[in-house]
């Protein structure tokens, strides 16, 4: 899986494009309970990754992920930059060059822990962690259950709607944060779903 540059390139391309295509939706979500830049931020990161895609695809999977993480840290800014950056950098650091399914689950868990450490946060606070946590559980239950994972993350993003934000800008809203989907949860769901679909379509 992802053992040649072309397939890595396809995956990077698909995920970046999905983020760019949903930038306005993410911004609209952030306008409701944040400061209205999440889509713009993620798009800037995705464009930076696309601009360097050939180079990134040439790298080994771990090195490529680290480089993507660093690009996000240096380009996205805001809260999501360090968080997604940390996620991908840790993923890269934790994966062997030719990962078995169990390695992927372990790396995902390490990356999830690193995001919690960076954000001083945990699931239940209406953030991207509320998508990453169930995704991890799902992977732990069955690393190859791609369809189940897609369903799970979509539900998890929806499930942030009735939550009360305790982290991120939405937390300043208190009770008024209830009733809106968390933008970071939505972007996480988009990314995970696209990864699943792209790998699934490639039959991998």
């Amino acid at each position: 899986m992802l053992d040649d540059a072309a397939s890595r390139r396809d995956l990077i391309k698909a995920v970046a494009q999905e983020v760019i295509d949903h930038a306005e939706e993410l911004t609209a979500l952030d306008q409701a309970i944040g400061d209205g830049d999440h889509g713009v931020n993620m798009k800037r990161g995705a464009e930076a990754v696309l601009a360097d895609i050939d180079n990134l695809a040439e790298k080994t999977l771990p090195e490529g992920l680290k480089a993507i993480g660093m690009a996000l840290v240096m380009k996205v800014g805001g809260a999501s930059g360090p968080l997604y950056g940390t996620f991908f950098m840790t993923l890269g650091k934790s994966l062997p060059e030719e990962p078995a399914p169990a390695d992927t689950v372990a790396a995902f868990e390490a990356a999830f822990q690193a995001v919690m450490a960076r954000g001083k946060s945990h699931p239940g606070q209406k953030t991207m962690l509320d998508v990453l946590a169930p995704a991890l559980e799902c992977l732990q239950a069955d690393p190859s259950a791609s369809a189940a994972l897609c369903t799970k993350v979509a539900e998890a993003a929806e499930a942030t709607i009735p939550m009360l934000a305790e982290k991120g800008r939405a937390s300043f809203l208190g009770e008024r944060s209830i009733g809106h989907m968390d933008p970071g949860a939505r972007s996480s769901a988009l990314i995970i779903t696209t990864v699943c679909k792209t790998l699934g379509a490639a039959g991998k």
Partner: protein
């Protein structure tokens, strides 16, 4: 969206070019517009670096210069700058005495400055500002936001650094100045992030957002627009209550416009606030009225009160020469 721009992608760099050109006697811009810094550095002085999302001008770039910041890192509009910016700035202005980051307490800013501090080679300490009493901390774990009070912290730190205070002492002073400072804001209109193209929030004709932040992020509550005196009363009460027993004596007051409110109204609000503070035993001995920590074109204002002691007053009065604040030089 009606703005004097060419393209949303180039606002920041075009604006920074104009900014450093207008102030080329005291400022220069870093490579790739990563930061602006003082043209002439003072050897042996602790380097003071701040930064944050753009759209709050003159904060922070307007406070770079003699007696205040050594460098400021501008992020995209309302978006924290990235660690490479702070690293480049630190490299450019660190003269060996260490670097102090002054960071408004927003998770984005905190995390990005934190990553920069982790990656930096020299010694780095951080002062977090969190003066916004609109955020009722007890219920949430993010803490209070750093808003207009940051100006006061940057000013006194700048003066003290100029006098030769070392890194640890500056960190302690910054924490003390921040602890003596409280702010509260109100918005009458929203603002529009250029890249988003539509207003961040919608306010009805008769509504105001009480306890708004400086990013057009919603505040404590949306209520009917009332009179200047009633608004001032709510702000003063929130601030004084939060100070508790300490709320007395001489104070610095910043009546800060968010960008879209005429100076006339700001002075009127200052007048109301000063009277209300006076009744509570707080005397305004230093003040500033104007647009200093803005939210693009948002209409509204914030009130900041810092309880002064002799040292803070002396440091406030010390000479400063930056684009937005200048005296004694």
């Amino acid at each position: 969206m009606k703005k004097l721009i060419n393209a949303t992608e180039t606002i920041l760099t075009e604006s920074l070019d104009g900014f450093v050109s207008a102030h080329r006697d005291i400022l220069v811009v870093g490579d790739e517009h990563k930061f602006v810094r003082r043209a002439s550095l003072k050897p042996g002085k602790v380097a003071l670096i701040s930064g944050g999302g753009s759209g709050h001008e003159p904060l922070h770039g307007g406070f770079v210069g003699l007696g205040m910041l050594d460098a400021a890192c501008p992020g995209q509009v309302f978006t924290s700058p990235t660690p490479d910016q702070m690293l480049a700035a630190a490299e450019a202005v660190d003269s060996g005495a260490g670097t102090l980051f002054i960071v408004k307490n927003y998770e984005g800013d905190v995390m990005n400055f934190e990553m920069a501090a982790e990656m930096a080679t020299g010694e780095v300490m951080t002062v977090l500002t969190d003066d916004d009493v609109a955020v009722e901390t007890s219920t949430f774990s993010t803490g209070r936001r750093g808003v207009a009070g940051t100006l006061f912290v940057e000013k006194v730190l700048g003066a003290a650094a100029e006098e030769g205070l070392d890194l640890a002492a500056l960190k302690a002073l910054g924490d003390r100045a921040n602890a003596a400072t409280r702010s509260m804001g109100v918005a009458l209109t929203s603002c529009t992030v250029p890249a988003a193209g539509t207003p961040t929030f919608e306010l009805g004709e008769g509504e105001m957002e009480m306890g708004v932040g400086i990013h057009g992020e919603p505040g404590r509550r949306r209520v009917p627009l009332t009179s200047a005196s009633e608004i001032a009363e709510e702000m003063v009460t929130a601030i004084a209550d939060d100070f508790g027993d300490k709320a007395r004596g001489e104070a610095f007051v910043l009546l800060n416009g968010f960008g879209g409110t005429p100076l006339m109204e700001l002075y009127l609000m200052f007048n109301a606030a000063q009277q209300l503070l006076g009744r509570r035993g707080i005397t305004v001995s230093r003040c500033l009225v104007g647009n200093y920590v803005t939210s693009l074109e948002m209409a509204g204002c914030s009130l900041t009160v810092t309880l002064l002691d002799d040292e803070l007053t002396r440091l406030w009065d010390a000479p400063v020469h930056t684009p937005a604040l200048r005296w004694g030089v």
